[in-house]
């Protein structure tokens, strides 16, 4: 009987307080919609940044004069070097074949194979790429760098702008993290704020209830249930809009692309679950807590 009473109370209250109820719902909807839009964006951005970072390689070019024994020695050496993650050996013949396949026209112009044997070293962590390069070719006292093995011709980053990639991706990651944090706290704040306000509009009502002999929890339960329902409705609205957006916009115009460029996005089902749970939890808690002030009669 108790639960059904509280439920009926919550429904009555929503019906009779259309304005604040609607306002609370709209706030949940809007903030959850924002969250639902930003979470995949943030994830995709971070994913993209990470996959760019994964491409940071250190290429160790051997001298064209290197013999197989030299190659083996260098390989052993590299295996012992700290920060070396994956190690891939590309023989000069393999490199030539690969390049010729990629740029047939261009390589037609070349005569003999100009490419050396190469080790492609993936650092254990992209941030260590520069340290690794320095370890393999430490700066010489005379200036310039001297590779640690005489068979090594050059140690290079795949792209000359590794440094730039690293800082930019780092920045992107920090920025998105900050934005996500700001957005989440903003959502919580905004929802709590709205609920506080709609409680405030019913301050008098709560006072009267107390004077008539209602206990704190007797007053609180309907409000918490109301908050839960409103939060669920708002979150549901957000989910429906997100779903519509996905079907109408994402799947239609970016068909096939999203899966390519944003493989790290959370699945849609999980996103929905997050949005729903977030909306409901924040609203329910907010209602329960905001009420405390007005219960002190």
């Amino acid at each position: 009987m108790r639960l059904s009473f509280f439920l009926r109370e919550a429904l009555r209250s929503m019906r009779r307080n259309a304005v604040p109820s609607f306002a609370a719902m709209a706030t949940v909807l809007v903030t959850m919609l924002m969250l639902g839009l930003f979470i995949p964006v943030v994830q995709a951005t971070t994913g993209a940044a990470n996959s760019v970072r994964k491409r940071v390689l250190v290429d160790v070019y051997l001298k064209t004069s290197a013999k197989p024994a030299d190659v083996a020695r260098v390989q052993t050496l590299l295996h012992k070097t700290p920060h070396v993650g994956k190690l891939e050996y590309v023989s000069r013949d393999a490199a030539y074949a690969q390049q010729r396949k990629a740029h047939p026209d261009l390589y037609k112009l070349l005569g003999a194979n100009p490419l050396p044997d190469t080790f492609r070293v993936t650092p254990d962590n992209p941030d260590n790429a520069l340290a690794l390069q320095r370890a393999l070719a430490p700066p010489a006292a005379a200036g310039g760098v001297v590779p640690i093995d005489e068979s090594i011709a050059v140690v290079k980053n795949r792209k000359t702008d590794t440094q730039k990639i690293l800082t930019v991706t780092n920045m992107v990651k920090v920025t998105t993290a900050v934005l996500a944090l700001v957005l989440i706290s903003a959502s919580v704040l905004l929802i709590a704020n709205t609920i506080r306000l709609s409680m405030f509009a019913r301050k008098r009502e709560v006072e009267v209830m107390k004077l008539v002999g209602a206990t704190d929890w007797f007053i609180r339960w309907p409000f918490v249930i109301e908050g839960t329902i409103l939060g669920a409705l708002g979150a549901l609205g957000a989910v429906v809009l997100l779903g519509l957006g996905k079907v109408l916009v994402l799947d239609r115009f970016f068909h096939g692309i999203t899966s390519v460029s944003a493989p790290h996005t959370v699945p849609f089902a999980a996103l929905i679950a997050i949005v729903l749970a977030g909306g409901v939890a924040v609203s329910a808690l907010g209602s329960g807590i905001s009420l405390r002030r007005f219960l002190r009669v």
Binding site: M1, G213, A214
Partner: protein, 256 residues
């Protein structure tokens, strides 16, 4: 100070309440009300009648003195026991204090719901008390759809519905016409006859004169008069009582 009598339901001992600077709510009020008494609280506006009521329901805390209700010191009731204490009181508030989002029926039912009564009990009791207070046709109206007097009667119905052992009524007939006022007073009298202690704050001098019950008068927060006016007839029937009230002029003792 005389020792508190055991059968006192309400006991004030040197109770003072001051609001900020200057405004005196109560000033050294001392009196006791016995179980089953019917007491009028009179006094000019601002003399502290509502303050006394608000102290009794623990809406306010006194600055000094002690208030005992049914033997319990109010100061010793902890915060989360207050609701349970309040359920023993029926209170008619001067400004009604109805719940704006509930119909007349639900406003009265709320007083039963807080104590966890079943729906069956509510279905039994609420329409009864609403009939008694003449609100049967307004069951599904919201408070802002009622006239002043109707709102006041809802407040009265809510206070009565629980059959509380102590009934406080702050100006219960301020917005009622003489005929309805007599009806309400008759109801109060009937409730009093079942053993309920009743404390009524009122300005209706005619009513006080005719009822011939104990009167406590406040002036600027002090108790300046406390007397049973003449002929205190406990065994009068409700009908005789009503007849006497309707008699226009305050007359000499009649059929006693």
């Amino acid at each position: 100070m005389p020792p508190s009598s055991a059968k006192a339901v309400i006991e004030f001992r040197g109770v003072s309440k001051r609001y900020g600077v200057g405004a005196v709510g109560l000033d050294q009020a001392t009196f006791a009300v016995d179980r089953g008494e019917f007491v009028f609280l009179v006094g000019a506006t601002g003399s502290g009648k509502s303050t006394l009521m608000r102290l009794l329901i623990k809406e306010l805390e006194p600055d000094a003195g002690m208030i005992r209700v049914a033997g319990h010191d109010l100061a010793e009731i902890v915060r989360n026991r207050v609701p349970y204490y309040r359920r023993n009181l029926g209170v008619v508030f001067q400004d009604f204090k109805l719940l704006p989002n509930r119909t007349v029926h639900d406003n009265v039912a709320y007083a039963l719901q807080v104590t966890g009564r079943t729906r069956r009990e509510i279905r039994d009791k609420v329409p009864d008390i609403l009939r008694l207070t003449g609100l049967s046709t307004k069951l599904h109206n919201f408070p802002d759809e009622l006239s002043g007097g109707e709102q006041q009667r809802v407040s009265i119905a809510r206070a009565f519905v629980n059959h509380p052992p102590l009934l406080l009524a702050d100006e219960p007939t301020g917005n009622l016409d003489p005929e309805t006022s007599i009806g309400i007073m008759q109801l109060l009298y009937r409730i009093n006859r079942t053993g309920t202690t009743v404390l009524v704050a009122t300005h209706d001098q005619t009513m006080v004169d005719k009822m011939r019950r104990r009167v406590i008068e406040l002036r600027e927060g002090r108790v300046v008069r406390d007397e049973a006016t003449g002929l205190y007839t406990r065994d009068e029937s409700t009908r005789e009582f009503a007849l006497r009230l309707r008699n226009d002029a305050p007359q000499a003792p009649e059929h006693l």
